[in-house]
Amino acid sequence: MTDCPMMNRRRVLASAAGLGLSVTFLGRPALADTDSALDKRKLVVVICRGGMDGLSVSPPVGDADYQGLRRGIAYKPEDVLKLDGTFGLHPALTSVHALALQGQARIAPAVATPDRARSHFEAQDVLESGSAQVYATTSGWLNRALEALPASRKAQGLYVGATTPLILRGKVQAASWSPGKGVDETARLPTLLQDLYRTDPLMGPAFARGLETESMAQAAMTAMAPPVGPDGQAAPGMMAPGVGGRGGRDAARKLGATLAGFMVQDGGPRIAAISLDGWDTHAGQAGQINTRLTYLDAVLSGLNTGLGDEWKNTVVVTVTEFGRTARVNGTNGTDHGTASTALVLGGALKPGGIIGDWPGLAQPALFENRDLAPTLDMRSLFKGLLADHMGVDRAALEARVFASSADARAVTGLV
């Protein structure tokens, strides 16, 4: 990023402080940046639930073993959107590919949580809690990151959906929102209810945050009309896996644009999460994953366009609880595996190649002769983004946001 005022200030600081200090400074952009730049930074985490198949998201068509392992569900080199000599993107990821060509989207092709049980629920717990062990804590790492931000740069967290997922649960009351009729926060009833909820530790803070979010919703919604589909059902915040075709894609794009609509407002959330379901492709994978990736691409495209000028301050990361078996199974699908692909996008991202190493698909390289082997701990990716992009204090990051994660060293240089 070549933000001029910031660079000037950095240069001024460096010359004033002398060479030795300036090197340290420049090596730690989180500290070198001024608060006024940092307090615009935005992070969106897209959780793809069900175990997203990384080998379909970014097919390693240049890997000699790929076609043999995937057989009938392998993509041919000419079918994918080319990234480099090894990887392409799935043909449905056209918006992501366009961003990649501008250096604003990269892949981490072999990333995994520290969990190896191949259970959806255990792995989602570890992914969202950010702990090394399953069910070790009841708060989520994005919530602890909100907690760790200094008072001068406090950020709001938002989840788009009717419930609150673990990743945003914790001490800081995060907002959640999905399309609906709207409530007038100044009306009598909400005020009376706030009184009744005063002693309820859950309902009180949740309701207060809900009312605040409602007051932002009107502006955010301008990006998406109508909020509820003509059948009264297919509201974007709660896309049913059954919603197909163009309608589903438009709804997904509006979902991304609406989330962006919240984030661009003054005082709007700077940390947000959304979930997309339906990635558990045990059978007939090709069709299902095409639909799901079409939606994912549309959500990301909606975010990109909706954020407009703020895109330059944003990083979006899409993650899943685990990847899937390297080999096709007996029903043209894949079973629960280990490493998968994370997509990292945003105007704040530095251009570059793949993030982390590619272990390859040769049989000895497979994890337990079955799955793509992980070369990058997901926490390393998150830690790098929280430190360098969001300016979360490194000590707090190690001690509280990702406790016991010393072996997962932060990926640096992404922004």
Binding site: T163, T164, L189
Partner: protein, 456 residues
């Protein structure tokens, strides 16, 4: 541990163990709150929402016929013909009818505990409408698997679930082929699918804390090969079939025990052992305690339920009775937060009515994140307050409560309704807020949104 007053117990019996109070219900339960619940435990099973319902086999065949019609229309280049759309609507309406019937039973039954118990097991053995073929069989699955066995033996419910077309299609078992079976060897392409085997271990029986390996999962998946569903062209269309030609031959070893090849008997023997496994008793005891009593349930309650399950050989009527008799289950502080379905059903119960049309219940459920018959994963709906008590969830509940109250308030005395709905659980601040409301409809909305009505 001492028990609360009779008045408090009556309120808890109807609201915590049941689905909320219909008018007069708490008063009726007052004489013998525990007896009122024990009397609902019925060895014949839970109530059926519909008389003479369609079977899962009929639904399977109907869905296949619809899919064939749709395929032909696509091949003809005209996928949206009137005929296809009508067929689509007809088949959707079947599933919608099942859901409405279930909601009406929940809102109308005097035996709320019996229904809650059935709903717990339906969520334990989740099948979901997120898959098209399964979607039309969710209702029949509850009728054929859950409700008949709700107070029977756990093993019977487990076997019924594992051999039911809804489960076999939802978790991909129907297509799983043993690589060394006749069909597997011949095709060389079709093979194992371990989805159902894994979820039986993790979710239905011993739970992941029990500790098992990938090898255990794979071995179980091999043992289950052959468990399938009759195709629409076969005699047993849409019913369970065991296909010998796709069953993986040979003995299987899992959890340290070897099972000889006995065709269908091999998979059934594994299920029998899993049902009797001590880890299963622990896993299920914890889930019951969490569902009915507290997100972090008292260990003493979990231990009681576990012992009851083990000692009775997994008899669910005994386990239900143990729950009702446990003093820990009667703690007056209500920490459970109602799921959207529980909230809506209890609101209809409050006014002594039932939802009259599918849309009345399904549209708000979608907004509240609990689309009917469609849990997002085989784990089923969450039982945790932190998940449901979200900012957006509360706003949506308020919106719905205002709309509901506007329609029903005229026929209610809000002060009486508050007492009838909550009994001794009604707190002074809520009673006061209801009494001081500006309008009847504001009073009813306040009651519906009060902490003690939202919790149980």
């Amino acid at each position: 541990m001492s028990l609360p007053s009779k008045d408090m117990m009556a309120a808890l019996a109807v609201t915590r163990f049941g689905l909320g109070a219909r008018p007069g219900e708490i008063e009726t339960a007052r004489r013998d709150p525990r007896g009122a619940l024990i009397g609902q435990i019925d060895g014949r099973g839970a109530d059926q929402p519909q008389d003479n319902p369609e079977t899962s086999a009929q639904r399977f065949v109907a869905m296949r016929a619809y899919q064939e019609l749709r395929r032909e229309a696509r091949d003809d280049g005209d996928p949206k013909t009137v005929v296809v759309q009508q067929a689509n609507r007809a088949i959707r309406e079947k599933a919608a009818g099942d859901f409405l019937a279930r909601a009406r039973l929940g809102a109308g039954t005097p035996d709320g505990f019996r229904e809650r118990w059935a709903l717990f097991w339906a969520n334990h053995f989740t099948v979901s409408g997120t898959k098209e073929l399964t979607a039309v069989m969710v209702g029949p699955f509850e009728q054929e698997v859950i409700r008949p066995h709700a107070f029977g033996r756990f093993e019977d419910m487990l076997v019924a679930s594992t051999t039911h077309p809804a489960m076999l299609t939802y978790l991909d078992q129907a297509q799983s082929v043993g690589p060394g079976s006749l069909a597997g060897a011949r095709s060389g392409r079709r093979g194992l699918n371990e989805n159902l085997a894994r979820e039986i271990l993790e979710l239905h029986t011993i739970g992941i804390e029990a500790g098992y390996s990938q090898t255990d999962v794979t071995e179980f998946a091999r043992a289950l090969t052959g468990f399938s569903v009759g195709r629409e062209t076969e005699d047993r269309a849409g019913q369970f079939v065991f296909r010998e030609n796709i069953h993986e031959p040979g003995a299987r070893t899992l959890l340290g025990k070897t099972y000889r090849d006995d065709e269908i008997g091999q998979g059934l023997a594994v299920l029998k052992d899993l049902a009797a496994h001590p880890a299963t008793a622990r896993h299920i005891a914890f889930k019951i305690a969490r569902h009915f009593v507290a997100d972090d349930p008292p260990p003493a309650l979990v231990a009681r339920l576990e012992q009851s399950f083990l000692k009775s050989g997994g008899r669910l009527d005994r386990v239900a009775r143990t729950l009702v008799e446990a003093p820990e289950a009667w703690e007056p502080a209500a920490t459970k937060f109602k799921t959207p379905y529980e909230f809506l059903i209890s609101s209809w119960r409050l006014i002594g009515a039932q939802p009259s049309a599918y849309e009345r219940i399904t549209v708000p459920l979608i907004g509240l994140g609990q689309r009917g018959f469609s849990p997002p994963s085989p784990k089923g709906w969450s039982d945790m307050a932190g998940e449901w008590c979200s900012p957006d969830g509360l706003i949506k509940r308020l919106q719905w409560s205002q709309a509901f109250a506007a329609v029903v308030a005229d026929r209610l005395d809000p002060n009486q309704a508050a007492v009838a709905a909550l009994g001794a659980r009604l707190t002074a601040p809520t009673a006061q807020a209801v009494a001081r409301a500006e309008t009847r409809s504001e009073a009813v909305a306040l009651l519906l949104m009060s902490p003690e009505f939202q919790r149980r």
